[in-house]
Symmetry: C3
């Protein structure tokens, strides 16, 4: 596959600056540019690379002003990142068309209906009473427990595990190693150790959700642990039993949400954040990486730190701590003055 | 299955208040109540819901005093949470009876004895010299390495991996994605990079232990990494080589214990906690979420923070930090006064 | 297998002190010593155990001075830890010789060449266009996606998953549950939620790398996420898309590296550390456990804390915080004096 810069510009409704006949056959990051590649410049941190990149073309914003000569052909567009995303999607669809067919050996319980247009990989397991939507792709070694329903167009990658009775919506992506519906962590203390509290609920994942590799979402004690429409969870995240994650909320890797906590819609949660149990986070809350949250948070808040405070207070506190040695010196000096004065 | 509130009260040795003939056929959380459901009220945070719940019956403690009219039938018991746990266990046993039988294809090495009453799922792998206890349930795609022993009544969920030579006790539950017995992280620096130190020990898990989804427990360099009787580990926990976790200790999700550290009995460790290597935590120590512990801890301690201190000091420090901006102002004022006084 | 202390000393170029005819048939930690075992003393923290150990022999450094009588036979060597590592390696090679042969059923796509000397376990999946190096060991239930290349002598343990198009070098070890090449976490916000940005790159792992259990390394958006020669990653680590981890760098469990960050060579990163995206960490940087790093770090730095500072500043700050209650008392006293003086 090969395009000219001019062809790509036409596709992207962009304006070419430089040689529009230059040939493009791959993508490259701007700092790793090479001949035949197209790159993009969105984060200003990478601007210096545009003067050195070996890439043949670079997508830039319409208002980009070069401060030195640029060798690459520029294609000016409204949003370089969105444009490259769209181009990548086109290539991806060509290179990785949906898989179809049933590889053998796989295990499909009696009575399960398998639509014609699905993919079921070798060593996948489909339990009794499971429902597989049209166009679903279930990769090798995936486990779809008894009574699980998998929506139309959903992809379950190799080795992901869905325990009995859970529901996965349409157009979801569940990455390898994700475990959906393991028992919530519930035990009652007794005189002779802990007694397990059966977790009789399930996990209910709505449409257009993506679940990262090795992320775990526990089934509810009763009712459902809910992941709402459009949620994106990165890798190695823990969602405990009976939580609810609101629509279009995104969480970066290694975050953890303790039991029965509810997150609002359109929240952004940084990496390695911890949320205590039984709290409520409002809509559109942003939480900085590695923060810890142990109480309710109002909609629209911007939180950071441990224990988390709003971003302004956090900055003030951090500065106050950094200046502490100076404060000690000032108090030493005051005490010296007072002593001398007596 | 359907019961009346009166029948459930009889089962639970409780006292009915309201319509004892109301029909119950499911469980629901009190805030998600619906007709035909029974709920429970244990955490006072949820008390307001009892006046609005649509559930047909609610388990409450004997001394609960309603401040407004309650529509649901109340069943007064000694411990609502324990009662609901017992009811859930009864239902769970009816709904999810133990699995039996050997699904094909699975891989069972020559010479392994398979008791009549076990479940071995499709694509499970049982290595040479493995021992499978009576009533064990080994789900699809689980891996039981060479020489592993699995105790009576133990459940190994889909895709859990047990490396060679490890021992799992009786009545354990190992959730999907857990990895038991991967190599401990041991390397010796050399002039040309790190040299691997073979990890020749194993992991030894005693009876009645539950291991969460995607939790990892590394094999010992020599000897055993030990998980003692009754331990409950949540999801995504890391236990390094040669650690020991004492009986009836519970750890919440995403905690990590570095090499050779010993945890006492009946400890409670919060989520995302980190314990350094080669330290000793006494019995009945409680450690708050996200804390970091880097030295020995006496039995019975209550720790919090990073670096962790006892709960009282932690609270004092946190308050002192929050008040810092005020302290700076006070010192500014003092300096101004002294300057004016000169 | 049984050796005398004298034979082991000869092998290790050590000097025997005590009964050189004592029989050794196993290893034990010094604090768990038993008859017939050899132990070692490297960490001075364990010195007290040498006077009590039941082990028959102990490897000690040449300059170890006993302060009390020692019952065990001592073998004095230059580096007891390195010696025991070498002895363990010898035993390990005898006890766990490389596996060979192809177990059935497994899935090997048409056209894949399978060298004679490899191991492919039951239920392993080898996708179309994959390349399997000489002497590779691919354990049961492992997934090697389309077009993946696995270098000579590499071990992929049970259930590890390698997505399409990734490259694994020679003599690597990939532990169970590791996921190599899942999609990077990239989404573009739109009016109707997030749109997925296809991740069209791969993961490129060089030679002599070890990847821990349940660690996840995401494929690049374009280009490669790179793990350089000799890197050792512990369990449950997250490496985001387009990162680069430099040669011989080691990371302890549960650390996370956000997108496009580059780590230098020979760095040591403690457990549960978080690195922000798009930053650059120089060579030979050491980062203490649970630290958070959000900006570039110069080569050779020693960092600690959250937000991380150099170790000296961190110690100074921590002390300043611990002394805060005293500082408040001092300022109270000053204010009292000034008030009395007025």
């Amino acid at each position: 596959m090969e395009f000219t810069a001019g062809q790509i510009a036409a596709l992207a409704e962009g304006v070419v600056e430089g040689d529009e006949s230059v040939k493009i056959n791959t993508f490259a990051k701007i700092e790793e540019g090479r001949q035949g590649a197209i790159s993009f410049l969105a984060n200003p941190k990478y601007t210096p690379y545009i003067y050195e990149t070996l890439s043949s073309a670079v997508l830039v914003s319409r208002d980009f002003v070069a401060e030195k000569p640029v060798k690459a052909t520029l294609i000016r567009v409204d949003d370089p990142y969105a444009t490259v995303a769209r181009l990548l999607a086109m290539v991806d669809q060509l290179m990785n068309p949906p898989r179809r067919g049933v590889e053998q050996p796989c295990f499909i319980a009696e009575g399960v209906e398998v639509p014609d247009d699905v993919y079921i990989g070798a060593f996948a397991y489909i339990g009794a009473g499971a429902k597989i939507g049209s166009g679903a792709q279930i990769y090798p070694q995936a486990y779809v427990g008894d009574g699980v329903s998998v929506g139309d167009g959903t992809i379950i990658y190799a080795g992901a595990k869905i325990y009995r009775g859970c529901r996965i919506g349409k157009r979801c992506i569940i990455h390898s190693g994700a475990v959906i519906g393991a028992d919530g962590f519930g035990f009652a203390p007794t005189d002779h150790g802990y007694e397990k509290i059966p977790q009789t609920g399930n996990v209910d994942i709505a449409d257009d959700v993506e679940i990262g590799a090795n992320t775990t979402i526990d089934r509810a004690m009763m009712g459902s642990t809910r992941i709402c429409r459009g949620v994106k969870l990165d890798n190695l995240i823990q969602i405990a039993h009976n939580c609810e994650v609101g629509a279009d909320t995104v969480m970066a890797a290694q975050g953890g949400v303790a039991g029965s906590t509810k997150l609002g819609e359109r929240c952004m949660v940084g990496g390695q954040v911890g949320l205590a149990g039984h709290i409520h986070i409002g809509d559109e809350v942003h939480i900085g990486a590695q923060s810890g949250i142990n109480k309710d948070v109002a909609a629209g808040s911007r939180l950071f730190g441990y224990p988390a405070t709003d971003v302004v207070s956090y900055g003030r506190q951090a500065l106050a701590i950094r200046k502490l040695p100076t404060l000690y010196k000032r108090v030493d000096e005051i005490e010296r003055l007072i002593k001398d004065n007596k």
